[in-house]
């Protein structure tokens, strides 16, 4: 779809696409530590800083724990803050992820999804961001580099909305998106900057006329009360994400929903996925549709807040559904996406579900794997149930 506003088409990697969005946002502070496959993203942004193209205060820290700590401090001081990380780097931020969210710091962070160790691995799966799913951050997933750019710009607006004020992770698949060259429409700088607008913090630690305290001690008497607004903000985010998407669509012609229904309306068999796998799945859907098969893809763009209402709606005519998870919740009844979808349908929709764990540690997901899922869904629709609720795609026995 062509942009309505002025733009240019460039060939960039997913990392470059996010760095371009960051250049246009020109955040006050960026604190980051390099980790594959995020390194090139910050490398590119550091060039913008060195060349004086952005005015950002770039803080080189000694670890990701420090990166997120510096980000929280800068945000409390009234700055617009961005950062990026991957896998073990995200894991090292763990403690501060929760603090960023509950202190209501609207930080935007690209998470270039990579498998968590061990064994040590640098390639894509979603174990990093999925592990952080309860930290209070909004999670946006990208199918391609265009979405990585588009989601980054929108993330700033979502995070900083007064009804939200929560940090946002923009998740893009390591290497598959981060290191692959694609054609991406980049908005004119002025258009992008006008869309993002100025950051006006509610409080500002540097405002000596109005001294305030961030991050105080909070016991059984008030901690509970301080958690409720976080729940409300996450709920508000559902509306704000849609509002921001509508505004963005007017500029670009690209209209993002919390879920994208790809040929699902009349589909009997539906596969649910997120991230770059959706591109592969769409090609499979098209191929099977050409053969007359009734199949569709439901892409989840927003994982937190989880769009359970939209998912119920999209699946209401399905005969069987497969949920693809690029991570596992060990000891649980499936991967994180599966558990969420299953919970969303309980008491609402009685459709047979199957979970497929796939692509761990960057294992390539081929069209044939997705075809296996669609094929097995035929049997699931007929039988109505399956003895093995969790399947694995593309693993050797």
């Amino acid at each position: 779809m062509k942009s309505v506003a002025k733009c240019k088409v460039v060939a960039v990697t997913g990392n470059d696409a996010v760095a371009e969005a960051m250049r246009q946002v020109d955040p006050d502070v960026v604190a980051a530590y390099p980790i594959t496959p995020q390194t090139e993203l910050m490398h590119r942004f550091a060039e913008f800083v060195a060349d004086g193209i952005v005015k950002t205060e770039f803080v080189l820290v000694e670890s990701e724990h420090s990166a997120m700590s510096a980000a929280v401090g800068a945000s409390a001081a009234g700055a617009r803050v961005m950062t990026a990380t991957s896998a073990n780097g995200l894991a090292l931020m763990w403690e501060i992820l929760y603090i960023a969210a509950s202190t209501r710091c609207p930080i935007v962070m690209a998470v270039v999804n990579r498998a968590l160790s061990a064994p040590i691995n640098i390639h894509c799966d979603h174990s990093d961001s999925m592990g952080a799913r309860d930290a209070g951050w909004i999670h946006l997933h990208c199918e391609n580099s265009q979405e990585a750019y588009d989601n980054t710009l929108q993330a700033v607006r979502i995070a900083e909305n007064r009804d939200v004020l929560l940090p946002v992770m923009v998740c893009l698949d390591g290497f598959i998106l981060s290191h692959t060259l694609e054609a991406v429409e980049i908005l004119d700088d002025d258009v992008a900057r006008e869309f993002v607008g100025e950051f006006r913090p509610v409080h500002n630690l540097l405002d000596v006329e109005n001294p305030i305290t961030f991050g105080p001690l909070d016991f059984h008497d008030y901690y509970f009360e301080h958690k409720i607004p976080e729940i409300v903000a996450m709920e508000n985010a559902k509306r704000v994400i849609d509002e921001v998407a509508q505004e963005y669509a007017r500029l670009t012609g690209r209209h993002y929903q919390k879920v994208e229904k790809y040929r699902t309306d009349d589909a009997e068999r539906i596969v649910i996925a997120l991230g770059s796998t959706c591109g592969t799945a769409k090609a499979v859907v098209d191929e099977l549709r050409d053969k007359g098969e009734s199949v569709g893809l439901l892409k989840i763009r927003v994982f937190r807040p989880f769009p359970y209402e939209e998912i119920r709606q999209a699946l209401k005519n399905a005969k069987s559904v497969a949920v693809l998870d690029r991570s596992m919740s060990f000891g649980a009844q499936g991967g994180p996406v599966f558990l969420e979808v299953k919970a969303a349908l309980y008491n609402h929709l009685d459709v047979p579900l199957k979970n497929y764990i796939y692509g761990l540690g960057g294992r390539n997901v081929s069209p044939s794997q997705i075809k296996v899922a669609f094929e097995e869904l035929k049997h699931l629709a007929k039988e109505g149930t399956t003895s093995d609720q969790i399947g694995f795609l593309g693993v050797r026995e």
């Binding site: 509950s102 710091c105 509610v202 409080h203 105080p216 008030y222």
Partner: protein, 100 residues
């Protein structure tokens, strides 16, 4: 106590220097009991008290702020041994009425 709708965002405290509003007296297990007849008003307890809970007027100790005293016992410890004017007494020794 305030409900969640009345609180500032993110647990922030919008009013400076309001820690006096936070009553920490309920944390106490032992209560300092001062014997006025023994006290020499040397003010060592006033100097050492980490919670500013020793109430002083015109250079004389006039009481202990039990709304904020956490019962750490530093006052009794620093009271000169020859004076020994402060005794730490278990809270359970006080009736509900005397409790503060």
């Amino acid at each position: 106590m305030k409900g969640w709708k009345q609180l500032a965002i993110g647990g922030r405290i919008e009013e400076a220097g309001n820690s006096a509003c936070y009553e920490t007296g309920s944390w106490r297990t032992f209560r300092p009991v001062r014997d006025e007849s023994k006290c020499t008003h040397c003010l060592r307890c006033w100097i050492w008290c980490p919670d500013s809970a020793i109430k002083v007027k015109d250079g004389k100790i006039v009481g202990i702020d039990l709304d904020h005293c956490k019962g750490c016992g530093i006052c009794a410890e620093v009271c000169p041994p020859k004076v020994h004017a402060i005794e730490m007494v278990e809270e359970s020794q006080f009736s509900e009425k005397e409790k503060k």
